[in-house]
């Protein structure tokens, strides 16, 4: 396959064209109905997904070894594009309130997706940093997009301060790595890593790596870099929160996997201990922190539960073997489907879009108001809680299985006990939706397209939980 053919079919090229087209449309067709724009963008994303999949099987380095195209990268690009489609559907419900500024909103989302696609193809530290910055910069603007709301401004400011700080740390770390290894390329860094391990400058290299990991730690909201998440999740417009919870988090984990697999020769016992402590603390913080959020704000609640899920993903990360990475990717996919279902459900429950607060009490007796929404929440929440036959169970099963294989008993036990803890707050949400009396008894009408989407999402959660083999087989190819 020629380089030109590869580049023309890559997701990045397509996404750049979408951004340009959106700006052009903003200048020439400002009066186009926002519903049309949203449908067009979703169609283009679906086409890009198919185009991306035609590249499946290619394995090559492009642009002076800066850009790596392989199964792993293609899998994640496809994942981001699919997630992008659902996020545009969530945003589509938001379009009336945005009215004129819809073009910028969509193009910023496309830019952030572009950053994520570049990130999983990064083969040197510079591309890694630039693509993370592309995601973060787009999100700085997106989090403040609801500019008449003070909470949105607050969220944006917090995200900006914390994000800038983490980027600075990461850049600082990269400078250490460059200083000791004289290279920014992952592959050369890996050889230097093995050579330098005997010399005193090894500690400087490690310091650099710790700083880079800390930078990624912010993106995936791992303890102790998780404090921004609840405020930002709560304040940001709901589609942006969905993007943070799904695409931004998975991009962070993909980058982490790439770093460990390509740029380091694996971790020694001290690193593993440190990361195991971080994973355990993340698990406990997220799952215990979610309990006081019951009865409060739904998005804030999901931020805490999302931190808990980052803990399970880190557990899988620590195993550093094919089992662990497979578990991680499986868990990410399943987490993404369940989270997107919930966010889509959240925006549809509050059709007025008055303030985007989404208090827990809005969901009381949802099953009676809309059986489809209620059932979807039921399935998605049980999946997040790790209850069979939903797919979330199998994700947790794989993670704990991989950790036990490594002989990390204590971590496995903490992971197992937090499943029971998390069940407490997830069951409370189930009670809210399933058994409580609604404040507002009016029934909620959902369009045919959304109903179909919900059916697909629910079925995929059940299907992946019962027939795990196809997805696991696909994932095994990416490692």
């Amino acid at each position: 396959m020629t380089m030109l053919s590869l580049i023309s079919r890559s997701a990045e090229t397509g996404l750049i064209i979408v951004v340009v087209a959106l700006f052009a449309a903003r200048l020439t067709l400002p009066r186009l109905k926002s519903g049309v724009v949203s449908k067009l963008v979703i169609t283009v994303f679906a086409l890009l997904f198919l185009l991306n999949m035609t590249l499946w099987g290619s394995k090559t380095l492009l642009l002076q070894d800066a850009f790596r195209l392989d199964h792993f990268a293609l899998f994640f690009k496809g994942f981001f594009l699919l997630a992008g489609i659902f996020i545009f559907m969530i945003a589509g419900h938001f379009q009336d309130t945005l009215a004129k500024r819809i073009y910028e909103f969509y193009s910023l989302f496309t830019l952030a997706t572009l950053g994520a696609c570049f990130l999983v193809s990064a083969n040197n530290f510079l591309v890694l940093f630039l693509s993370i910055e592309l995601i973060t910069f787009s999100l700085y603007v997106l989090t403040t997009y609801w500019r008449t709301q003070i909470t949105s401004i607050e969220a944006g400011t917090k995200y900006l301060v914390v994000g800038a700080f983490s980027s600075a740390m990461m850049l600082f770390g990269i400078s250490f790595i460059y200083g000791t290894t004289q290279t920014i390329n992952f592959h050369d860094c890996r050889s230097a890593f093995t050579v330098l391990s005997a010399q005193p400058s090894f500690t400087l290299l490690h310091l650099g790596l710790i700083l880079v990991l800390a930078g990624i730690g912010f993106k995936i909201s791992a303890f102790p870099f998780q404090l921004w998440a609840p405020d930002v999740y709560q304040g940001a417009p709901t589609p942006v929160t969905a993007f943070l919870a799904v695409v931004s988090k998975s991009a962070g984990f993909a980058a982490l996997m790439r770093l460990v697999l390509l740029a380091t020769g694996g971790w020694n016992a001290v690193w593993i201990l440190m990361l195991a402590l971080i994973a355990a603390a993340t698990l406990l913080y997220g799952n215990l922190g979610a309990i006081p959020q019951l009865g409060g704000n739904m998005k804030r609640f999901l931020a805490f539960s999302g931190i808990g899920h980052a803990g399970y993903l880190l557990m899988a990360m620590i195993c550093q073997n094919a089992q662990g990475y497979q578990a991680l990717i499986y868990y990410l996919v399943v987490y993404a489907i369940a989270t997107l279902t919930i966010f889509l459900g959240i925006v549809l429950t509050d059709p007025s879009q008055s303030d985007m607060k989404h208090n827990m009490s809005d969901f009381q007796g949802l099953l009676a108001r809309s059986p489809m929404l209620g059932f979807s929440f039921f399935v998605a929440i049980l999946s997040l809680a790790g209850v069979p036959p939903m797919a979330g169970f199998f994700g947790k099963f794989l993670v704990i299985q991989a950790v036990i294989e490594k002989g990390m008993w204590l971590l496995a036990l903490i992971g197992a006990v937090t499943i029971a803890i998390s069940l407490y707050y997830y069951l409370n949400v189930i009670k809210l939706i399933y058994a409580d009396q609604p404040n507002d008894t009016s029934s909620i009408k959902i369009g045919f397209g959304y109903q179909l989407t919900f059916i697909c999402l629910n079925l995929s959660l059940i299907f992946l939980g019962v027939f795990q083999a196809p997805l696991l087989h696909l994932i095994a190819k990416t490692i």
Partner: protein
């Protein structure tokens, strides 16, 4: 593979597809939904009876095995089959399911959802007893816990939200501990398979390291001990049963609790004999506390369901005592006891459900003299109370006596205390019968309606009949049980 082997996965698939079918039916078709649930549970009872009759006791290993490869990379296969122990439990579950569906006629609101969850619960429990793959055994067990929470909070009574949460959290906490234990066995064998038969034969030839066995046995015993209401992890049980709707109490006390005992027999005694021998002396002490504490607490209750709930905690002590003795006789007694106690517990909860539906109270002090307006139900309740206190003629007597014979030589002191428990049980049971069914009639209960039609009487009559039949003729079940128990690596 014989045709009969396909009957076993059918036990799970039939109620499961029933649940999906009911989910797709319109909610107004309640009559069809009820009829469908009845038919399905009736068919599963027939299938279970056929399996029990078909089981060949001359070759007592696992029979009627089917295997569908599920996830070869992890060694997961959907393998089903039965031995004498699971035969008995399948029969018990089929009986309890049918009667639970029959007494569910009194459920009036959200009928469709109720039957979806009930059928799902029934399917999952069949799944646990028929699975011969550790992964599927665990999955079905967890699946059985899920429907309990929504069922209790919607159709339950008295402090239902608290009870439902406590029950679900305790049982899940036990389950996840057991999961860590199961996975550790999976990795320790190095076979890369969850196939129970393969693991069993491998471990019989190559026992695992003793320290490992000790820890794994602890995780599994505590994990599954929770659902068997091992003291001090029992406190979810009376509160949960009091909160649950009748059918859930019946299935939970009758069958789901037995999963704990079943899993301990199958996995701890069967796979980790050394680990079991380390912990079983402590289990014996806890079992005695179960028996005496449960009986003592039952005596102080004023709510009918709490009395039966604590009685079931107390009775599970006998089963735990039998396991802790680790002799073939005692373990055979435990399996028979699970059957007898399951039927008795289902009967008691069904009758209490009937009384509560009529009177809207379960306070013993409010009731009294009910024998006069409710002669049939009263008679059944007296039978259940006598069975519960271990009167000869009922299956419970036979099983308890076998447990005591089996455990006497190994654990004389705990057995002695446990036998004393029977006296306490008889005391509170007879007092309960006196206060609720005899004595002066409270005038407001004069116009209660007894179960009159055949269909109304069927569930209670069936359960009483089964208790009496197997009380007078225990040989058939014991012949099923004993050869299979003899295959376990127990003390001789």
């Amino acid at each position: 593979m014989s045709l009969g082997a396909y009957l076993i996965p059918l036990l799970t698939l039939l109620p499961l597809s029933g649940a999906v079918l009911v989910l797709l039916l319109p909610a107004q078709w309640t009559k069809l939904i009820r009829a469908l649930a009845c038919t399905i549970t009736w068919i599963t009872l027939m299938i279970s009876a056929v399996i029990c009759l078909h089981y060949d006791t001359a070759t007592p290993g696992f029979q009627l095995i089917t295997k569908i490869v599920w996830l070869p990379s992890l060694g997961i296969a959907y393998q089903t089959g039965v031995d004498g122990i699971s035969c008995v439990l399948i029969l018990l579950h089929a009986i309890c399911s049918l009667t639970a569906v029959l007494v569910s006629g009194s459920v009036e609101n959200r009928v469709k959802e109720y039957y979806v969850l009930l059928l799902f619960l029934i399917a999952s429990i069949f799944g646990v007893f028929t699975a011969l793959d550790l992964f599927f055994l665990y999955v079905f067990y967890e699946m059985a816990v899920v429907p309990l929470y929504p069922m209790i909070i919607v159709w339950g009574s008295k402090n239902k939200e608290y009870g439902a949460m406590k029950l679900t959290l305790y049982v899940t906490l036990g389950a996840v501990l057991a999961l860590v234990g199961l996975l550790s066995i999976y990795h320790a064998t190095g076979l890369k398979t969850f196939d129970l038969i393969e693991i069993q034969s491998f471990l019989a030839a190559h026992p695992l390291d003793q320290t490992f066995q000790t820890w794994a046995a602890l995780l599994l015993t505590v994990g599954f001990g929770v659902v068997a209401s091992l003291w001090p992890l029992h406190s979810w049980s009376p509160i949960g049963y009091a909160a649950a709707p009748t059918a859930v109490s019946m299935l939970h006390a009758g069958v789901l609790k037995k999963i704990g005992i079943y899993a301990i027999i199958r996995l701890v005694l069967g796979l980790l004999p050394f680990g079991a021998s380390v912990w079983m002396p402590y289990v014996a002490i806890l079992a005695v506390i179960n028996v005496l504490y449960g009986a003592w607490a039952a005596m102080a209750q004023n709510d009918l369901k709490f009395v039966i709930g604590f009685a079931s905690v107390s009775h599970m002590g006998y089963a735990l005592l039998g396991i802790s003795a680790m002799t073939p006789l005692a373990v055979s007694g435990v399996v028979f006891f699970m059957f007898a106690h399951g039927v008795m517990a289902a009967l008691s909860f069904a009758l209490i459900g009937f009384i509560y539906h009529q009177t809207h109270t379960r306070d013993i002090s409010d009731l009294g003299g009910l024998m006069k307006p409710l002669p049939f139900v009263g008679a059944c309740f007296v039978m259940a109370a006598l069975a519960s206190s271990g009167l000869p003629g009922f299956a419970n007597f036979v099983s308890e006596i076998i447990i005591f014979f089996g455990s006497w030589q190994v654990r004389p002191w705990p057995t002695l205390f446990a036998i004393f428990g029977i006296v306490v049980t008889a005391t509170y049971m007879l007092r309960l019968v006196k206060n609720v069914f005899f004595g002066p009639v409270n005038r407001k209960w004069n116009n209660l309606k007894d179960a009159a039609s055949f269909l109304e009487r069927l569930p209670y009559g069936l359960l009483v009949l089964i208790l009496l039949i197997f009380g007078c003729w225990p040989a058939w079940l014991l012949n099923l049980i004993r050869p299979s128990v003899a295959l376990l690596p127990l003390l001789r």
